[in-house]
Amino acid sequence: MKNKLEEIRKQKGIKQEELADAMGVSRQTISSLENGRYNPSVILAIKLARYFSMNVEDIFIYEEANDEK
């Protein structure tokens, strides 16, 4: 699953540490999300979307061809 998290975060001028604190996760988790190495849980995806006042689909792009376990 691709995402625009890094792009959106940078647009808003937020540091990874700040976003991690707001989400209650580690900075490494934000970094992994941005690099596409880790897909968030539904809860974290919704929390991120609410934090940026967006829809989940505006941040995360689901591609069936690249579907993972």
């Binding site: 209650g24 988790t29 968030p40």
Partner: protein
């Protein structure tokens, strides 16, 4: 909650000391097993207590540890690591079991084979329990 944790660590240390004392009191002819168990429990208790004190004294570290304990990615990694360890253990135990039985170490071979059976049975039971839960 914090005090409860500290109490558990202190209890571990006390149990470790009691087992060590029993081992050296001559309660058994071979104290090595009791010494091993006692020192293991004592060491775990001491390390946990030392870690807990260090975390309490360092607010930055405390925050990092608390975040890590709630971090979903860490939980995911932990689950994946357990999954991989389970499969690797089965392979290693399988190889050891076959090699030991071929080389005539029947006791070792059977122990390794039985540990595989136990793990598979536990997995099946846990799978059924989890399937009902989720």
């Amino acid at each position: 909650m914090k005090n409860k944790r500290f109490i558990i660590y202190v209890i571990e240390i006390v149990i470790g000391i009691i087992i060590e004392m029993l081992a050296f009191s001559g309660i058994t002819s071979d104290p090595s097993v009791l010494t091993g168990i006692g020192s293991g429990i004592l060491a775990v208790g001491l390390v946990q207590l030392f870690r807990a004190v260090r975390i309490e004294q360092d607010p930055e570290l405390k925050k990092r540890v608390e975040t890590a304990s709630k971090d979903e990615r860490y939980a995911f990694i932990s689950m994946k690591a357990k999954e991989a360890a389970f499969v690797i253990y089965l392979i290693i135990a399988g190889v050891i079991s076959m090699a030991a039985l071929i080389l005539g170490y029947e006791s070792l071979g059977m122990t390794a084979a039985m540990s595989i059976c136990l793990l598979v049975i536990l997995y099946t039971i846990m799978f059924r329990i989890m399937a009902k839960k989720y």
